[in-house]
Structure formats: structure tokens, C-alpha cells
């Protein structure tokens, strides 16, 4: 009997120890400032680079400890949401959807955590894309930009000398490529990044997601753009087959294997394709326009967010100055294949890697998703789910955009 009691006590004791053991982490001793940062994994380079960066920083600043958490993109939203609802926000987070966090007053504006000269070195359109309610809550961290990628060898085999500059030329080029035996334009319309395709075509047709504070998703220019994408599939037949279940990566992969003439690519695509062994000779051009507008490129920006919950704003400021220091920041951007947001780092990258120079030029005039609207992630999710049917031609472009518009208005 005693033995069983003793055993029970031992088990309970162990359980109690295990439980209390969990609660000792995060304690702040001996005046060291601890800051937590969450970084999504962009590539295989992310984790080792940041670990090295944190080590270097900590050896220079022994009064600051940086807890780095790298996380897969697939789990990022979930992690952020959980941390917000359990009031365990980190000090810093690299993230794109900053507006909902800013709307809940969870973020610190850039001026509070960034030295003035660093802020003024940042590219102005990238800074203003991160504004919410007149405050710079989204601190630019990195950007990527989209452009028309074409396969030079397939183009010359089809008798094409120039990339298409207009929609009509896109169709003509596509038809020539098809006649030469390859699909003309790669378009994925499964559950995938359709917001990128619609943006590129609506903006190059004079359309917008929003006009001021009002959503304009169902504007005629946008309906035209979506119908145009659908016509590439159904009327002109210049897209690759199997698009209805394809994702962005499928068409990029196909392009890398020389299986399609043109595709909307991104500045980081060449690095990806080369890593996969692709030898395609890539030409890069602005996205074609309907003829009524100047060419516009889509830029995607990720922000460095500083949370109001931080206990150590000074340590955060010190760490950010270190992160954005030209040398290591340029190295990080090179490793990730992304574009830097500071003008000084852009100069370094353009010199170091001439292939990125045209993208840095495109970035100066590029446009962004309406990420400064808290409801954008909701709209984006709906765009990705529903617009494929309109491109496949099973539903009408007008109806799909009208229901998106009403969703946006009622959020």
C-alpha cells in the first residue's frame, strides 16, 4: 500500500515539476533586454543567415538577447493570429498584412523604432505603401516585383523578335508560339495567386482595387481585364493546358523547362529556376497593357512590424539599425533573391548583381496590393478561391467581381 502511495506521489511530483518547468522561460534576469522576432522562411538561406546575424549582434551587444523564430509561410498567419489573440505578440515580425494589426493599435510607427536617417533612406513609394491612418506602421523590409518573362529561344523559333507590349501583341505572340508547337502564355487558375494576375491586367487597363476609401473591384476596367484573361484560355487558346488545377509554381516550373513561351514572373524567379537546373535564356519586359495605360508592374512588399507590446523599444531600435546596416542587409537580400528597400542597399545590389538592376528600376514605379486596408487578406483569399472559375469560363467575370465587391463593401 505504501509503495503505491509513494509511486503515486512520485508520478504527481514529476508531473508538477514538468508543468512548472514550462513557466520559467522568458524571465528577464540581470538587466538583459530580451526581444523576440519572427521571420518567415523565404528560402533555405533564411534560417542560417538570421542565426548568424543574431549571433553577430549579440556578440556586439551583450545586454540584448534576441530570440529568433523562423517559421514556414504556410504557418505564418496562424502563428500571428494565435499570438495576437493570446496576447503574446513578439517584439518584431516580418509580415505583409500589417493593416489589421495597425487597426487594432498593436503596432509602433516607424519613427519610434527607426533612426531618422534610416527611414529617409527608404524608397518613398515603399514607405507610403506601409502607411495606415497616416502613420508608418508597416516598415518596409523587402520587396519583389513582377514582370513579363519570355523564353528567348522559343521566341526566335516562333519568328518573334520583340516581347509583346500590348494585349493585342500578347495574343499575336501567343498564337505564333502555339503555331510553333509550344503554349504561348502560362496562366495558372487553380486555387492560386490570382490576385497577382488580376492586378497586373487591371492596372494595365486603367483599373484599380480601390479608389480612395471605396472598393472598385467590379469596375468595368477590371471586368475587362478578367474577361481578357479568360479569353486567353477559351477564345485564343494560347495558354498551357491543365490551368484549372495549376498553381503559380506549376507554370513557373513549366517555364523553367522551356514548356511555355511567356509567363508573369518575379525578380526572384531566375534564382529559383537556376537552382532547379533550368537553362532557359530569359528575357524580361514590362507587363503588356491594353493600350490605354502606361505599363505598371506589381510589387509585393513585406514589412518589419514592431509591436506596441514591446518592453524594450530601445533594444528594438538598436537591433533594427543592425539589421538594416548596408553590408549585412545587402547580403541578406542577395541570399534571399529579394529587393532591398533602402536606396543605399539598392545601389549595392544593382552593382553587385546586374540581373537585379532592371527589377530595381521597375520597383520605383511599381504598384502594390491594397495591403493598407485591413480587409485585404479577406478579399485576397476570396479572389484566390473564386476567380479561377471566371477564367475557366464556368462563371462570368462580371458576376464574380460583383460578388467580391459586395463582400468587400460588407466587411
Amino acid at each position: 500500500m505504501y509503495r503505491t502511495y509513494a509511486r503515486t506521489a512520485a508520478i504527481l511530483g514529476t508531473a508538477a515539476l514538468a508543468l512548472t518547468g514550462c513557466s520559467t522561460a522568458g524571465a528577464d534576469s540581470s538587466g538583459t533586454a530580451e526581444i523576440d522576432i519572427i521571420v518567415p522562411i523565404y528560402s533555405d538561406a533564411t534560417q542560417p543567415f538570421w542565426e548568424g546575424l543574431v549571433d553577430d549582434f549579440e556578440s556586439e551587444h551583450d545586454d540584448i538577447k534576441v530570440n529568433l523564430q523562423t517559421i514556414a509561410f504556410a504557418d505564418l498567419t496562424q502563428e500571428v493570429n494565435t499570438r495576437v489573440s493570446t496576447q503574446q505578440t513578439p517584439d518584431l515580425l516580418v509580415y505583409s498584412d500589417f493593416a489589421a494589426l495597425a487597426a487594432d493599435d498593436l503596432l509602433l510607427p516607424a519613427e519610434d523604432v527607426l533612426p531618422a536617417e534610416l527611414l529617409s533612406d527608404m524608397q518613398p513609394n515603399l514607405v507610403s505603401a506601409g502607411e495606415y491612418d497616416g502613420q508608418k506602421y508597416g516598415i518596409p523590409f523587402l520587396a519583389s516585383v513582377r514582370a513579363l518573362f519570355y523564353n528567348k529561344a522559343l521566341f526566335s523559333a516562333a519568328g518573334l523578335t520583340e516581347p509583346p507590349a500590348t494585349w493585342d501583341e500578347l495574343i499575336a505572340a501567343g498564337q505564333k508560339l502555339v503555331a510553333s508547337g509550344v503554349p504561348g502564355y502560362g496562366l495558372a487558375y487553380g486555387t492560386t495567386e490570382l490576385d497577382a494576375d488580376l492586378s497586373a491586367y487591371m492596372w494595365n487597363n486603367g483599373g484599380e482595387w480601390k479608389d480612395g476609401d471605396a472598393w472598385t473591384i467590379d469596375a468595368p476596367e477590371n471586368v475587362e481585364a478578367l474577361s481578357f484573361l479568360s479569353s486567353l484560355v477559351n477564345e485564343y487558346g494560347i495558354t498551357q493546358p491543365g490551368g484549372a488545377s495549376a498553381t503559380r509554381n506549376d507554370v513557373w516550373q513549366l517555364f523553367g523547362q522551356g514548356g511555355v513561351g511567356m509567363v508573369q514572373g518575379a525578380n526572384f524567379l531566375p534564382t529559383l529556376l537556376q537552382a532547379a537546373g533550368s537553362t532557359v535564356d530569359i528575357g524580361i519586359a514590362p507587363m503588356p497593357t491594353s493600350g490605354d495605360a502606361d505599363p505598371v508592374s506589381l510589387a509585393v512588399e513585406d514589412y518589419m512590424l514592431a509591436f506596441r507590446s514591446t518592453q524594450h523599444p530601445e533594444a528594438v531600435r538598436t537591433f533594427l539599425s543592425f539589421v538594416y546596416a548596408d553590408e549585412s542587409y545587402s547580403d541578406l537580400m542577395t541570399a534571399e533573391g529579394m529587393l532591398p528597400v533602402t536606396q543605399s542597399a539598392q545601389e549595392i545590389i544593382a552593382e553587385r548583381n546586374p540581373a537585379q538592376a532592371p527589377f530595381i528600376d521597375l520597383l520605383q514605379t511599381a504598384k502594390f496590393y491594397p495591403t493598407d486596408d485591413p480587409t485585404w487578406p479577406t478579399i485576397r483569399s476570396e479572389v484566390r478561391t473564386t476567380l479561377g472559375a471566371a477564367i475557366a469560363g464556368t462563371t462570368s467575370a462580371e458576376d464574380e467581381l460583383a460578388s467580391l465587391q459586395s463582400l468587400a463593401e460588407n466587411r
Binding site: T77, V84, A100, D104, T191, P241, S245, T378
Partner: protein, 324 residues
């Protein structure tokens, strides 16, 4: 002193001693059972605590969230009554997703049991290499669902999939088939994979029952002149009825709550056509960032599953009693 002088115990005395003894015994029993109770609590404590922490508390939180106004970023702003439920039921896609869930659960569960039975009968028969076949049947069950789904996806990939390339090389089709390109074929693919991964477990449950049927019963039946069909109807089926019922219930729960399979294979697409209520919980929470509605759907989901299981239980009272 003779023996006879010793006072003889009166009935009363006997009764009182007996009473005392009974009482003493009862006290001892009570003491022991109290001690046992304390011990039970001590033994069960950690488990109960764990259940409360990882099952009950999340459920309480989920129900609370479903009645809360949750901001897009996840901040809980307070009670908002049944608004989340109203928003959820008002969604134009909600009815379709309920229908899709019913389709998914019913086809996979029925298909699984329909395949598991003959397979169990086969594995119960004596034939050379039976052990190898028994192990082989287990493989789809032992493999992680997301891995099975990924392999399946690659096999049926439009451009590179082994299925399309083989069919083309055999000259059976001229151009590749987009297996996940429309809702009908996407569902077909999902249901086939769903049955494929569910069959092993159900087969083994039924096989377990078949193995416990004594051979004497069949011998007796044979002596009574029963053929194979008659003995299957009168012995095998009734003896394995409880296990089959168990397989149905466990499958219902598993299939209703399957996420990885659908998410990896179709992502709920094309469009929303292969979403079930379970995958839609995830889409609402982390796609639409509608955490309150997502919690409301989680509650609805539990009620739905509970309801379906209750119906199955009530309609199978007999099997239920055998389980006790």
C-alpha cells in the same frame, strides 16, 4: 466448573456481535473504499488534468470565441451574441459546403465498409502468403495522410504524373487529363483516396471479429446442412455485426474530421467545390480571417458529428448493447 455453566450466548448477544462485526466490516469497507477513492483520484488526476487542459479548455474557448466579436487580427473585442452564427449561415456557399460534406462522409464510409468486408474475409481465409498480404494491407494506414495525398497528387499530376504519361504512352488518351480540374473528377479522386486510406483499419476491425468466431460453429452449421452463404448469413454476419458497427462509427468520425487529405490533394478547389465543413473552418480562420465565424462553424461541426453518431447509435441499439 463444568462446561455447562458457561453462559450460553443469547440470540440478542449473537445479533449484537454480528451487528458489530457487520458494522466494523462496513466501516472497514468504507475506509478502504475512501482510501481507494483517494487513490483513484490520485491515479486519474494527471490524466483528468491533461484532458481538462487539452480537450475541455479549448472547447470552452472555442464556444466563447464563437459568441465573441473577433477583429481581423485576432483581438477579442467582446460578446456579440449569435452574430457569428448568423453570418455563417448567411454565407451563400454554406449550404453547398454542407452538401459536399454529406457527400464526402457518406461515400467514403459506405465505400470503405463495402471494401473492408470482402478484404477481411479474404485475409481470414487460409492461403499461402497470407501474412505478406496482411502486412501489405496495413501500409496505406501506416502512411501519414499528407504523404499519401502528396504521392496521389504527383501520380495524377497533369504534366508529369505517372498516370497521364502512362495512359498517353499506351495510346489510351491523346492528351493529358486534368484530374483535379473540375469538381466531379476532383471529388472522384478524393473519394478514391479517402476509401484507400480508410479500408485497412476497418478491415482489421472486422478481421478481428472474424478470427474470434470459433470453427465449431461452422462445423455445426455444416453438419446441419448449411452452405457457405447460409453460414455467412447466420454466423459470420451476426458475430461480426458489432465490429462492423464500430468500424462505421470510427470511420464517420475520421472521415468527417479529415483535413490533410483534402487540403493537400485539392486545397478545397477548384473554387470551393471540394471544401467540407472541416476544411472550411480552416479557410474561414486563416484565409478569410473570420475567427469568430470559424469558431461558430467548429461548434456547428461538433453538433453535426454528435448528431450523426447519435442517429447511428440509436438505430443500432443491439450492437450498442453488445459493446457494453
Amino acid at each position: 466448573m463444568s462446561v455447562g455453566t458457561r453462559p450460553r450466548p443469547t440470540t440478542r448477544m449473537i445479533a449484537s456481535t454480528a451487528d458489530d462485526r457487520v458494522r466494523a466490516h462496513q466501516r472497514a469497507v468504507t475506509r478502504r473504499s475512501r482510501r481507494m477513492a483517494v487513490q483513484h483520484v490520485l491515479w486519474l488526476g494527471p490524466a483528468l488534468f491533461a484532458i481538462a487542459a487539452v480537450v475541455l479548455y479549448p472547447i470552452v474557448e472555442m464556444v466563447r470565441t464563437s459568441f465573441s466579436d473577433v477583429s481581423l487580427s485576432g483581438v477579442i473585442r467582446g460578446f456579440n451574441g449569435v452574430d457569428n452564427y448568423a453570418d455563417l449561415f448567411r454565407r451563400p456557399e454554406f449550404t453547398a459546403i454542407l452538401g459536399q460534406t454529406a457527400l464526402w462522409v457518406s461515400t467514403v464510409v459506405i465505400g470503405t465498409i463495402a471494401l473492408a468486408w470482402p478484404l477481411a474475409l479474404l485475409l481470414n481465409a487460409h492461403f499461402p502468403g497470407r501474412r505478406a498480404v496482411r502486412y501489405a494491407v496495413l501500409i496505406p494506414w501506416a502512411t501519414a495522410l499528407s504523404v499519401s495525398a502528396l504521392i496521389f497528387q504527383w501520380m495524377f499530376n497533369y504534366t508529369y504524373g505517372v498516370v497521364n504519361t502512362t495512359l498517353i504512352q499506351l495510346g489510351l488518351i491523346a492528351s493529358p487529363i486534368d484530374w483535379f480540374g473540375d469538381s466531379t473528377s476532383a471529388w472522384t479522386m478524393l473519394i478514391i483516396l479517402g476509401i484507400f486510406v480508410s479500408v485497412p483499419f476497418s478491415t482489421y476491425i472486422i478481421l478481428g471479429a472474424l478470427q474470434s468466431i470459433p470453427d465449431e460453429l461452422y462445423e455445426a452449421a455444416r453438419l446441419d446442412g448449411a452452405g457457405p452463404i447460409r453460414s455467412w448469413m447466420s454466423i459470420t454476419l451476426p458475430m461480426a455485426r458489432t465490429s462492423t458497427f464500430l468500424a462505421v462509427v470510427l470511420n464517420l468520425i475520421g472521415v468527417f474530421n479529415s483535413f490533410a487529405l483534402i487540403w493537400v490533394l485539392t486545397g478545397g478547389g477548384p473554387g470551393r467545390s471540394t471544401q467540407t465543413t472541416f476544411t472550411f473552418i480552416y479557410t474561414l480562420a486563416f484565409g478569410s480571417q473570420a475567427m469568430g465565424e470559424s469558431a461558430a462553424l467548429s461548434v456547428v461541426n461538433i453538433l453535426l458529428l454528435g448528431g450523426v453518431i447519435a442517429i447511428v447509435l440509436v438505430s443500432n441499439r443491439k450492437a450498442l448493447e453488445d459493446l457494453r
